[in-house]
Amino acid sequence: MNSLTASELRAEAGAGGPAPVAVRLERVSVRYRVPRERINSIKEYAIRKLQRRVNHDEFEALREVSLEIREGEVFGIIGRNGAGKSTLLKLVSRILPPTRGRVWVRGRVAPMLELGAGFHPELSGRENVFLNGTLLGFTHQRMRELFDKIADFAELWDFIDAPLRTYSSGMTARLGFAVATAERPDILIVDEILSVGDEAFQEKCQARMLEFRESGTTTLLVTHSMRLAEQMCNRAAWLDHGAVRAVGETSKVIERYHGA
């Protein structure tokens, strides 16, 4: 699995040198095939196939993107809607394989693209914690160990055995966030800063993310807020129509983004 040579690894981990690479994209392209017309039935498909009328548009979401993100960095990704930012996050989260090029990621990735994935309204908060946790790749045993911490953080001990349908949306979101961040990931993937629950809870969430950063978690942050990017990120990349237009120090990248 690990295709870096031993000497490369040593060089990366060498004392005083730059931190080892956490994420590396090598000339990565993602191409979606979008059917020109939605074909919803087998009958329609068969007819069109016979008439040779099944047409697809190719849509290149990312083009030859190369990036290297090092351990402990908070890396921002900026750009207009449809520039390929979310696609890039999906590549790193392993949700999407690249059409061309290579994606290399070292460490456990926690994608915060969907909180409370798979939550079921009829199950209790407790049951949902286990379901959601195993969906995120944890073992049952690990979830048992993390459970108290999760209920503490979400402040939901009083309702933990009530069905989820009785929860307010804020409570549900708190539970989802608590599960997603119960264990410090090596790489945290954030698509826009989440506004979960009330102000006090939002502060708690921010504190937890800062705590992760302090402990060496690499963060990939997609945001439309330049203020936030400038404030949070060491480095940033500007994506435009699927290609990297600028990468480097956050303030300089933002400058070029505004200049365009």
């Binding site: 699995m1 690894l9 039935s41 949700i95 995120l136």
Partner: protein
């Protein structure tokens, strides 16, 4: 020290992936706790708000069998081995329901899951596996009423019943293979689920489940051989009736149907599974 820590971290390299059918298998094994959670969710939520709860799973085929026995046992009285019609029909229904429910359920599971696959990584085969796991739990539960009916109607409980895991395993393999093929189709075409329900009804009546195969004229009976579910059913009923594992021809036909269907299903599903996340 730091280097050692880095080495212990999991590495994902899109350029160093194994063959899809191997990769998916090991991913499924890593996510086995999720599989258990999803099956538990299905069992729990199905009966969460009903008084009888899990008992329904056992009552369902039983009630159906009672109706069928009332209607058909009179009609089929002429065939002599039919003194145990109730057990015959119940055993058939249990296997058929297992197959029909697992495959139908797999489609709706993947439709639900394909939304999820845009947001988190989960092994794609887990949805068909969930349907299979849920079906297996229901199948095992419905063996309880089968045993009860056997005792009541005086069908002897022979040691050959210990052969039952063989037909159950083979039917499960066949159902999983079909589930993988059908569920991927269902994601692409909205009408597959409905078409399949119609197909299932026709298929059920073409299979000797509620009627004995002897009512079909001899010159047409060979047609049953083309039906995989016929062999799987025979294999399931033999330990109950004949008191032995079915004949070598039935075993071979059932095993071949199971292995080939699962291999084809697994191979085609895993090869194209990446496309599921690409659908926009």
């Amino acid at each position: 020290m730091q280097a050692e820590q880095s080495l212990a971290k999991p590495v994902y390299d899109s350029a160093a992936r194994r063959a899809p059918w191997v990769e998916e298998f090991s991913a499924l094994w890593r996510y086995r706790d999720l599989l258990a959670q999803l099956v538990a969710r299905n069992i729990k939520t199905r009966y969460k708000r009903s008084v009888l709860g899990i008992v329904w799973t056992m009552l369902n085929p039983l009630l159906m069998m009672l109706v069928l026995t009332g209607v058909f046992s009179g009609i089929f009285r002429f065939s002599l081995q039919f003194e145990f019609y109730a057990v015959y029909a119940l055993a058939g229904l249990i296997v058929w329901n297992f197959f029909a429910q697992t495959t139908s359920h797999a489609m709706s599971e993947l439709l639900w899951g394909s939304n999820l696959l845009h947001r988190i990584y989960v092994p794609r085969a887990i949805f068909a596996a969930t349907a299979l796991g849920t079906g297996l739990v229901n199948l095992l539960l419905s063996l309880v009423p089968l045993l009860v009916v056997m005792v009541i109607t005086g069908v002897p409980l022979r040691p050959s019943l210990l052969f039952l895991p063989v037909p159950i395993l083979l039917t499960a393999m066949f159902a999983l293979g079909m589930s993988l093929i059908l569920s991927r189709l269902a994601v692409y075409f909205a009408d597959v689920l409905e078409m399949y329900q119609i197909l299932l009804t026709v298929w059920m009546y073409l299979t000797p489940i509620v009627y004995p195969k002897e009512i079909i004229p001899v010159q047409h009976r060979w047609l049953f051989n083309l039906n995989p579910m016929y062999h799987l059913l025979e294999l399931f009923r033999a330990p109950i009736y004949v008191g032995w594992l079915a004949g070598p021809k039935t075993v071979a036909a059932a095993a071949a149907a199971a292995v080939v269907t699962l291999a084809v299903g697994w191979w085609t599903f895993t090869r194209k599974a990446d496309e599921l996340a690409y659908r926009v």
